[in-house]
Amino acid sequence: MPDVKDVGALMSVTYDIAARDFVRAGEAANKLKRLLQQLGLDPAVIRRAAIAAYEAEMNIVIHSYGGQIKVDITPESIEIFCEDSGPGIPDIEKALQEGYSTASEEIREMGFGAGMGLPNIQRSADEFRIESTVGRGTSLQVTILHEAGE
């Protein structure tokens, strides 16, 4: 169950993401999508937020030891904060390239790890920030404006 509370933002929800749980993978993104639909936000904005949240969730499931996605809805934007503890990303620039992936053979066989995750998040975002410490984990912040020119 997401934890719903107000903190500065109009609304804030947090989803816990378990590592390697492919049965539940994607649930957080789906819940977020439904929430945004209930709020009646613009369909194009919902689509971008859903894609960004889904890819971020999959990254946490595939690469990390577990993490959290927190979403703030402000009057201007949807802010998605993702934080995981895990191996971190040694070369962020490379990781942002389409098709670059460090996913294992096993993960790829499941149809994931095509190296499109981060690039897709970046493409969906109006603002995008990523920080990573090797051996500690990765955090990213995605901003999607309610009224944005693509």
């Binding site: 719903v4 109009l10 609304m11 994607g26 993104a29 639909q37 209930q38 369909p43």
Partner: protein
């Protein structure tokens, strides 16, 4: 707001209020209130799942019948490919089926299968011209409506091309007008339909103003009459023109194979379609060019207004098309090329999203409602039993937040309420003041005789 026409309606007398339908409905459009089902107009997509599932036959499709034919000087039947699938037998043929329709009183027949060939080629042209992926067929009207109300983010993935029946009506009428010098309004075009969604689509089109189709007669209505005339219906040269490519549109995968772009797939059964659409919403399937989506299992042969079992229908189509050409006639292809340039196949207006999920037009009110919703969901047992008349605890919570239901509609909440009320009553009863309590008792749990608890 414009009133919605719905083909799917409730037969109130037959409804027992059993809640089977509310759980099956893909858009949660049914509630049971006061012992009867009620269909929520804004949510219903006329897919007919409830017609199929209702054990009491309390759901019905409103459609047209043969009496409408007399209103027109000249009539043309537009048989769906799935109509052919109702018939089998050693010397059965599509030509005989078409002849049978003429004997039922239609002046002419035009195969929707032939229009389906046009549409297949037009879809292929559209896919080549668009960068959106995956593109989703708009041929199944229940799917178009499903996407509008439940997947509003995906409306621009729908291919804005007319469905085969609309193209069939226009081709048929234009041909008859040319040949016989009749005016458009003198000709009645009647679709022989496998489903209520098509009835709705004809009466209330999406993406254009007025349908060229004048009525939709269910396969179930035509079937019995056909059985009477078929023994006398003879093979008639020139009636049957479509190739197996068009006829196979009557069953799942037929359309996808006819469109024949490199990466494509077909999904049938509305609940399977929903699973795929949910994945598309989060960005998957972007490497697929074209998706055929059919609300009914097996495609149109599985329509709620068909007679034959869909698996049987599938095989019947196979047998009926065995001797047909397996490629679209090059003359048809040339005609499509010409008409494509004229924009003949394009819808006139955009398919608009029509979300049913929004809780309030005002964002801060919507947020308040979501918070209330979360609290309400926690409060409910989470068994999704449906006894309250809403399809799930989540749906009941939404109904409560929207003021359409109350917590007491939940039998478990009500039971808890009754229990604590009973306990309170008992407690009060025990607190009767000593002055009027004259009954001696040795029950040690009762309060002291002065009526107070210490």
């Amino acid at each position: 707001m414009q009133p919605y026409f719905h083909s799917v309606t409730l037969e109130t007398e037959n409804c027992k209020g059993c809640t089977i339908c509310i759980k099956r409905c893909p858009t949660e459009a049914i509630r049971v209130r006061n012992g009867k089902a009620r269909i929520l107009e804004l949510r219903c997509i006329d897919c007919g799942e409830c017609i199929r599932i209702c054990p009491n036959h309390a759901k019905r499709a409103i459609a047209d019948d043969f009496s409408l034919l007399s209103k027109y000087k000249y009539t043309v039947a537009l048989p769906a490919p799935s109509f052919y699938a109702q018939f089998s037998g050693q010397d059965m043929s599509i030509s005989r089926i078409l002849q049978g329709l003429l004997q039922l009183g239609f002046n002419a027949v035009f195969e929707v299968a032939e229009a389906a060939e046009h549409v297949s080629l037009a879809i292929r042209r559209y896919i080549e011209s668009s960068s959106i992926r995956p593109l989703i067929s708009s041929a199944c009207p229940a799917i178009v409506r499903l996407i509008q109300v439940r997947f509003p983010e995906l409306v621009d993935h729908l291919i804005p091309i007319h469905a085969p029946v609309d193209i069939a009506a226009r081709l048929a009428k234009e041909g008859i007008m040319r040949k016989l010098g009749l005016r458009r309004e003198e000709i009645g075009a009647f679709f022989i339909t496998p489903c209520p969604a098509k009835v709705t689509a004809i009466k209330q089109p999406i993406g254009f103003q007025e349908s060229w189709v004048d009525g939709a007669i269910p396969i179930t209505t035509v079937y019995a009459r056909m059985l009477k005339v078929l023994p006398y219906a003879e093979e008639t040269p020139g009636l049957q023109e479509a190739s197996s490519v068009g006829v196979h549109w009557g069953r799942a995968t037929g359309e996808e194979r006819a469109v024949r772009v490199p990466r494509r797939l077909a999904v049938d059964g509305i609940h399977s379609v929903i699973e795929v659409l949910e994945e598309i919403e989060v960005g998957k399937f972007h490497d697929i060019d074209f998706i055929e989506c059919q609300a009914c299992r097996g495609g149109c042969v599985g329509g709620p207004l068909t007679v034959q079992n869909p698996f049987r229908g599938w095989v019947n189509l196979e047998e009926l098309t065995r001797d047909l050409p397996s490629e679209i006639n090059p003359e048809v292809a040339a005609e499509v090329d010409k008409r494509w340039e004229e924009g003949f196949y394009n819808l006139e207006s955009e398919i608009e999203p029509r979300s049913i999920l929004k809780l309030d037009d005002d964002l801060s009110r919507a947020i308040e409602k979501i918070e209330l919703l979360e609290k309400t969901v926690q409060f409910l047992p989470g068994l999704d039993c449906g006894s309250c008349g809403s399809p799930s605890c989540q749906a009941l919570a939404e109904d409560i937040v929207q003021g359409l239901a109350s917590e007491g509609d939940c039998v478990f909440v009500l039971r808890d309420g009754v229990q604590s009320l009973a306990e309170e009553l008992l407690e009060l009863a025990r607190q009767v003041p000593g002055s009027i309590s004259h009954q001696e008792t040795d029950d040690k749990t009762t309060p002291s005789r002065d009526g107070r608890e210490e």
